[in-house]
């Protein structure tokens, strides 16, 4: 079980497991490319209010995911009368693979826990 925490290789890059917030962002962006403000609202909604990010921290994570090649910025066409062009973000193929790998890693942990015979209270 411990091996699940050892860093694994993806496309030659050394990676640590994704953090829960990063995983959620990657999941949401894999579902549908979106821009920052909407992403904040969706994070709030999907985490049931459990995860509240401030704007600064959201863009810190987005920047890190972009740097790792997991997320790409898409320049949206400028709308008439609008201000600066709005960027939306979407998961790259590498990002989707990382999401899958992370989910498998968690699945492996879940399997190992189930093998211990532990069950949810009341189930």
């Amino acid at each position: 079980m411990h091996s699940a925490y050892i860093k694994f290789s993806n496309q030659g890059a050394l990676m640590a497991p994704l953090k829960p917030a990063q995983q959620l962002i990657l999941l949401l962006l894999a579902e549908e490319p979106t821009y920052g403000v909407a992403l904040l609202e969706r994070i709030d909604e999907r985490s049931g209010g459990e995860l509240r990010l401030n704007a600064g921290s959201l863009y810190r994570m987005l920047a890190a995911l972009v740097e790792d090649g997991f997320v790409e910025a898409i320049e949206a066409p400028r709308r008439e009368g609008a201000g600066a062009p709005r960027k939306s973000y979407g998961a790259t193929p590498v990002g989707k693979r990382a999401l899958l790998a992370e989910s498998r890693r968690q699945e492996a942990i879940l399997d190992a826990v189930r093998a211990l015979g532990l069950s949810e209270p009341g189930s």
Binding site: V37, L40, N54, G56, L58, Y59, L62, A63
Partner: protein
Amino acid sequence: MTPPPRWFRLLLRLYPKAHREDYGDEILEAAEHQRRQRGIGPMGTVRAVWDIAGGAPGVWIDTMRRGGGMGTTRGWGLDARFVLRSLWGSRGYVATAVVVLACAVAANASVFSYVRGTLLPDVPYSNPDEVLLVWGSNVTEGQLRDVVSGPNFLDLRERSTTLSSVAALHSDAAYLMVDGRPVVLDAQEVSVEFFDVLGVDAHRGRLFEEEDRMSGNGAPVVITHAFWHDHLGGREDVVGLPLDFETDPRTIIGVLPPDFEFIAPAPLFLPAHDDQLAAYARSNIHWNIVARLAPSASLEAANRELAEIMTEISREWAMYEGWTFFAEPLHDITVAAVRPVILALTGTVLLVLLVALVNLATLFRVRAFARGPELGVRSALGAGTASLTRVLLMETVGIAVVGATLGLVATPFILDRVAALVPAWVAIPDSAARVPILSAQLDPAVALTSIGIAVIGSILLSWPTLRSALSGTSLGVRRGGHEGIRGTRLLVGVEVAAATALCIGAGLMLRSTHQLLTTDVGIEAEGLLTMMVGDVWGLDAEGRTAYFEEVVARVEQLPGVESAGMMGYVDFQAEDDYARVYFLDRELQPVRDIREEWRRVDAGLFASVGMRIASGRTFDPDDFQGTPRSAIVNQAFATKHYPDGDAVGQLVSTHNARYRDLRIIGVSVDVRTRGPASVAPPMLYVPLQGDPRGTQGLHVRVQGEPMAFAESVRDAVWSVDPSQPIHWVSPMTQWVSMWVAVPRTARALVSSLAGLAGVLATIGIFGVVAYTVRTRRKEFGVRLALGASPRRLERDQLHAIGPIIVLGLAAGTVIGIAGASAARALLHQVEPTDPLTLGVALTVMGAASLCASLLPARRAGRIDPVEVIHR
């Protein structure tokens, strides 16, 4: 959507530039969106600030971690290895920087630990600011802080409304019988309110309460936590345990908490009952008063009321005309005794710190210049800004941490050395009281602050180097090197000024302490052993006299003892003894009276302590037969009361019926009983046999080291009566040195720190001139090739640095004189503008600066033009 407030944009400055450019607008938009959802109130704005700025630290960490485009851990590891290799390659630079920092940190940590630990200890009382000492004071009689009589204390306690509680206390000795021999312990007799005033609760049992107010209700004693542990083994059944006192058995009723401390420390506290206090004569003053200010009262109101109370007392008791009560915070008094030292030390150590930091700044500049090409190569090979920043930061912080740690390791040794210099007590000015000096330990807060200052200071000082690296070009560093010469020379000026000021301060302290230590205190303290002997208050005057005469006779028979003498006290112990002195006319009628100090002495005292007679004669054996008829006064007494110089032959009486109609037979030289810097009090000496005190100060003049005779003298005293207590066995020099402890400590510390600053400044000047020569090697090479003489180049270097050094010396002189004027209280018979001191200090610093500039300047002339131009 309306745009967010414009100042929000300023918050984006907290992010690295690249991140700001990529995401700044979006962060603002998202933050504004969140703000509008939550509501635009003051709280909404605060949250928005957090929304915008909250990500900045993380982004910086990410940037650093990703520096150079490498993976996280590997990047740090590689850089760390690079830093270690690079530092190993410049061991001289590293060693110098580490030593400079270690010196600065050790100096700071020692001085501030000393100040915090010994001079400004935390007071273990509740609301310590409300705790006051109350004094009796008579300015015209020169009594600024005097003790109070028992009945006056009771009146004061009863009438005061501005003091919530008032207590009397008196230092005493308790004689505990151990194996049939009396062991003397310091004890405090305190009125029942004492622990209330300090706000202290019992650790075990109880402290004094209402039932202890009157005598006859048992003989209780309260002990300190240390006494309980050290002498009673911390036994559980301590409350109710009897203590075998010489005169009466007492019962322990309580133990004080471990952190209990008072300015007059003693292991035992005995109750001073109200009926005993009331039984003292109105004129018999020996109680210290400690009080707590009522919550609603101010110190001024309390002092007004205290003065009124004394006025009322003096209406009833004429002897208190001209007297007043006044109160001052306990903490102020103890701090006042050491404030000049605190000032001098703080000023000194800050100057040392300045010199050390300037040295570091110079070192970092030199380093930046030396590394310019290397950083350029690294940058060209693809090392990012973040990686370069990381490397330089690692270097600086590493040096700072190692230097600070070394400094802190050295601190306990320095504190030990300081502790060895300082006696256990310092005296409170203008009073017969003294304050214990606690031993200092490295204070954790001071240690942390020192490391913080070292790290932050180093980062700030290396900022120009970092900035050059951040700009991403080696050219910046090169340019900085050349432009920096002027700035660096300015730093030399600062360094010379600080070191000169310290040299002047140290010189003045040395002169002043020399004056103090060579001041004639009026006796020959060397070779004199002193101790307090006996507890024979129960005997009549003849019995007491006989006992003390026998003790002196036995002691004088010891080999190596030249002479011995008795006096009611040992001078310089911060004890005093007063008499009411009546001046008589030819018909033996008193014409006026005054309160003056007096001493009851035996036939051998004057010879034993080495007191000289200025006019008239000394006591002869006849003066010690029968009722005393003669007296000797000191010069201060003679000058004060007989300004025409006709003291010898005059008649005086005292309040004591056994000392009436005394003829003054001689005038002795003054004894500065409160230290070399004090003015000798007027003093009346009378023969002891009239009414000797029950405890006497034994003075033994010996051939050799006084303490080597302690054992044999003690045995001789006990050979007369083994049940008599002996305490405070000490060479006289130690009592005298108690009064010069503060200036001596200050001298030692300021001189060491000034020496350190001088060395650091010299290193700094050397470094700057060497740096200048190094940066201009090419130019010098060309000039030499074009025919300039090596001597000319050397001279140019000296001309460039000379004016800065002269300016530094001048500024340092001004700062030194100003600092010495501020700490004038530490100077004894030396003016801050003492020409000799200024001359020596300026010569030393000028010569050191000249040597430090000359050596590297000579290198300019020895440059090989061919080699330099070729490179």
